[in-house]
């Protein structure tokens, strides 16, 4: 019943977009009412359906399963173990004949015991009766699975402990070194490589990265999707990349009528320098720079509309070092089609804009991983034992020179029947063996 409840809860969680998966910049409180309508959106938020799998009630369901697993398993395991290790050997003939597979042949108990031992059965005798079984281990399988599942559940819950499940995301441009917040690590991106398939889908991306710990390089490797770097319990994943306008090559031009290209400046569109020399005598002073220029309609003040480099605008003075005078002014919108506004002997013209690639690396430290996969190996072992080892029980009673065989399969009845055909040499279609 609990299993089905969890199934239903999981279905609900898969049909409603989860907070961790939706692709929108808005916070949940704004996003959900818009996505599902005011009524449903707020209802989902209130019920915790927007983060089903980390909600209190989902955790409660899982906890209930854990508790019932523990109780049921031990409740049943003890009597089962007793029944398996101390089986009732002496049985009446009607009981034996009632078993799934039964057959009668002439012979004595000693022969039966030898025959069964030869086929790998463990044989116990009591007066005129005999009990044999094999694949006893199979019966413990379910409990091994359950123990594994308990480990898995605890590993899952352990991630809620402080410091057990930590992630950091860093964006690093080519050649940059970035300190990872709240750790002793810094990462250098020597070179980010990106290749595409002819159809435009990404084929390969990798970061040639160095890991620095307290300023010293401790590892250097190529981090790729499916090939993370591992260091000291941390793993460093290649997750994504981003491209933004990087450097603008600006031609410094002598104003008409000369129209002469004097030299080229390289302007970092994220963080330009304060001063760019133009030859020995002149300088460009950057007075203000906006990467996404906008004028706030309320205050009339210039500012940035976003974090992106969408509309870079530079306001500068041309300065003569010899005279110490400002000799000209420029206002340049790098992406605009219109010519720049300027006065004085120089102006700037945009030559090219070089893109800059950022690699996205994710650091993850998850202490639950070894426990999780240990738990899963235990589960898998338990499953192998449960489903591929079969427990077959046989009772034999000797009555006046006739052996009454009866056998029961805990799993794979069909296999037991075949076993009996071979064991007792019964042709097809005879006896209660089919």
């Amino acid at each position: 019943m609990l299993i089905l409840l969890i199934a239903v809860a999981s279905i609900a969680g898969s049909l409603i977009e989860q907070e961790t998966l939706y692709q929108d910049w808005r916070p949940p409180k704004l996003y959900y009412p818009d996505r599902y309508g005011a009524f449903w959106g707020n209802l989902f938020l209130r019920l915790g359906l927007t983060h089903t799998y980390s909600s209190v009630w989902y955790a409660t369901l899982i906890l209930l399963v854990v508790v019932s697993l523990i109780i049921c398993s031990f409740h049943r395991l003890v009597p089962l173990h007793r029944a398996l290790t101390r089986p009732q050997v002496w049985k009446l003939a009607p009981f034996i004949r009632r078993q799934e597979v039964s057959h009668e042949v002439e012979g004595n108990l000693e022969e039966a015991a030898t025959l069964l031992r030869k086929r790998g059965y463990k044989v116990v005798r009591d007066r005129e009766c005999l009990y044999a079984d094999k694949g006893r281990l199979s019966r413990y399988g379910p409990y091994i699975i359950h123990i594994g599942l308990l480990i898995v559940a605890f590993a899952g819950f352990s991630r809620a402990l402080p410091g057990w499940d930590e992630t950091r995301d860093v964006w690093i441009a080519d050649g940059q070194t970035v300190k990872v917040p709240e750790t002793e690590f810094a990462l250098t991106n020597h070179k980010f490589t990106l290749e595409f398939h002819p159809n435009g889908a990404p084929a390969h991306f990798a970061t040639d990265a160095s890991l620095l710990k307290n300023g010293e390089e401790v590892a250097r490797t190529s981090i790729e999707v499916n090939h993370p770097l591992r260091y000291d319990g941390w793993r460093f994943y290649q997750t994504s990349w981003r491209e933004e306008p990087g450097t603008a090559r600006l031609k410094v031009m002598a104003a008409p009528p000369l129209e002469q290209h004097l030299l080229t400046l390289e302007l970092d569109l994220r963080q330009p320098e304060a001063v760019y020399p133009i030859g020995d005598r002149f300088e460009l002073h950057v007075l203000s720079y906006y990467h996404d220029f906008v004028v706030d309609p309320a205050t009339g003040e210039p500012g940035n509309a976003s974090f992106e480099i969408r509309n870079p605008v530079l306001l500068g003075d041309f300065y003569d070092r010899q005279t110490g005078q400002v000799i000209g002014k420029i206002a340049l919108a790098v992406f605009a089609k219109e010519p720049p506004v300027y006065q004085g002997p120089f102006y700037l013209a945009v030559d090219t804009v070089e893109p800059r690639l950022f690699t996205a690396l994710k650091l993850h430290k998850d202490r639950s991983i070894p426990y999780m996969f240990t738990g899963l190996s235990v589960v898998m072992t338990g499953m192998m034992i449960t489903f591929f080892v079969f427990h077959w029980q046989v009772w034999v009673r000797e009555e006046n020179g006739v052996l009454v065989y009866g056998a029961r399969a805990y799993k794979n009845r069909f296999g037991l029947r075949q076993e009996f055909r071979r064991l007792l040499g019964i042709p097809d279609g005879e006896g209660n063996v089919s």
Binding site: I3, L4, I6, A7, S10, I11, G13, S14, L15, Q18, T20, L21, R35, Y36, T52, Y53, P142, G156, T167, H197, P198, N199, A201, P202, A203, H204, F205, E224, V225, N226, P228, R235, Y237, T239, K362, H364, D366, I369, M372, F373, L376, V379, M380, M383, M384, T386, F387, F388, K411, N412, R413, F414
Partner: protein, 425 residues
């Protein structure tokens, strides 16, 4: 030696051979199973043997096709819907082959071989072009995770077939008993009254046949969808919207396209309705047509071929020992379950841990795999410790396979998530 450039065409031909094998096996199993009985064991007696051969021929050709595509494409061919659905057909037939060798259950092939035919036909709905791998799929886990999961699902498909066979057989026994009991309607009523019915039997008697008809309708909807998609793919009909291209007259257009903006079709304005923005309009549109075509197929078969409920018609033609069918279904689940757990969940977690930096994301695909796993877990628990054998158990095996199909196909088509690169359009 086949040149490298010939590997992909060779793979297509081998796949066609596999399809022919499965198709021939279907015909041979059906004729062998029903024909032998109708002719009192005189005719068609060797058909089932030939059918077994045809299945193995199909499986061998299919395996060769997969290997050829692997070499030809340069990556293990389970990276998109076309390849995956084909692989699922292969694993189902392989699982059937294995269980058929153990149990030699006549009749199972007549139900499971068509599953292979259907899946393979369905795979042709998706574009068969080799697509280069995105970096996330470049891993040795691609063959391990996907093939192992598909193999488990193949066993679940066989469990479904055997469960269906069991349900039909039991219904058939019941019907024959009813007919033998009462010659007329009065006798029938008296007979029914005289039989002491347990509550669940009564429930089963009322709802069982209806659920069976609903199941056949759903199967025909899927068949209808496949037929429709295959016909239209090559028919060249299309209605182009900014966000999607429809190959069927758009009853429901994408959000933002006005009613009637694409002219009219048979006098009706196209699209007839505008979808709300959250709906995957194209898929819902196809779904509507599939429901209609499925209904049409169902109606035609019921009216002209079976002349009554399809389930009843089939159930009277099914023979064999129902206990063995029940056992085969259980055994198939018992094999499929650990294989699916390993391939579908554990390998998936190992891979996710390697590629995405976390072993579990609650991505819809993962969640549904987990739901499918829970369904079969419930099946095993109810069977082992609550004594659910027979019908209840069989219905659960049917439900479980429904969840599997939804996980594999429905999730890709209807829900967006991390696995969406596996979705075909």
């Amino acid at each position: 030696m086949i040149g490298h450039e010939n590997l992909l065409p060779a793979s297509s031909w081998l796949l066609l051979l596999a399809f022919a094998g499965y198709f021939a096996a279907t015909l041979l199993y059906v004729s062998g199973y029903i024909g032998t009985r109708l002719s009192h064991g005189v005719r068609f007696t060797r058909n089932v043997m030939w059918a077994d051969g045809a299945i193995w021929l199909g499986v061998a050709a299919h395996a060769a096709a997969i290997l050829a595509r692997w070499q030809g494409a340069g990556h293990w061919p389970t990276s998109n819907m076309y390849e995956f659905v084909g692989f699922l057909a292969f694993s189902s037939m392989l699982a059937f082959g294995v269980l058929n060798r153990i149990y030699r259950l006549p009749g199972l092939g007549a139900l499971v071989a068509p599953v292979g035919v259907f899946l393979l036909a369905y795979s042709y709905v998706f574009p068969p072009k080799v697509q280069p791998l995105v970096p996330a799929l470049k891993s040795y886990w691609l063959p391990l995770h996907v093939s192992m999961a598909a193999l488990g699902e193949g066993f679940f498909a066989v469990a479904f077939g055997a469960a269906l066979l069991y349900l039909l057989r039991v219904r058939g026994l019941e019907l024959s008993a009813q007919r033998a009991e009462g010659a007329g309607p009065a006798g029938g009523a008296a007979g029914a009254r005289s039989v002491h019915l347990r509550r669940e039997d009564a429930w089963e008697r009322v709802w069982g046949p209806r659920a069976m008809e609903a199941l056949f309708y759903l199967i025909l909807v899927m068949v209808g969808f496949t037929l429709l998609a295959l016909t239209l793919r090559y028919s060249g009909f299309q209605w182009v919207f900014d966000t999607a291209t429809y190959h069927l007259p758009p009853l429901i257009g994408p959000f933002g396209d006005a009613v009637g903006s694409k002219g009219s079709f048979l006098g009706l304005p196209m699209p007839l309705l505008e979808a709300p923005y959250w709906m995957r309009a194209k898929h819902v549109n196809s779904l509507l047509y599939s429901l209609a075509v499925g209904g049409l197929l169902y109606g035609l078969i019921r009216r002209f071929f079976t002349r009554g409920p399809i389930g009843d018609y089939l159930s009277l033609r099914v023979h064999g020992n129902p206990e063995v069918m029940d056992e085969v279904s259980y055994r198939a689940v018992a094999i499929g379950y650990p294989v699916f757990t390993l391939g579908g969940l554990i390998f998936a977690m190992l891979w996710a841990n390697e590629a995405w930096g976390r072993y579990w994301f609650w991505d819809p695909k993962e969640t549904w795999a987990f739901i499918a796993w829970l369904t079969y877990t419930a099946y095993l628990h109810l069977r082992i410790s609550h004594g659910w054998e027979g019908r209840k158990s069989a219905w659960l095996a049917v439900l479980g396979f429904g969840v599997i199909l939804f996980t594999l196909i429905g999730v890709n088509l209807l829900i967006v998530g991390l696995h969406s690169y596996a979705g075909g359009d």
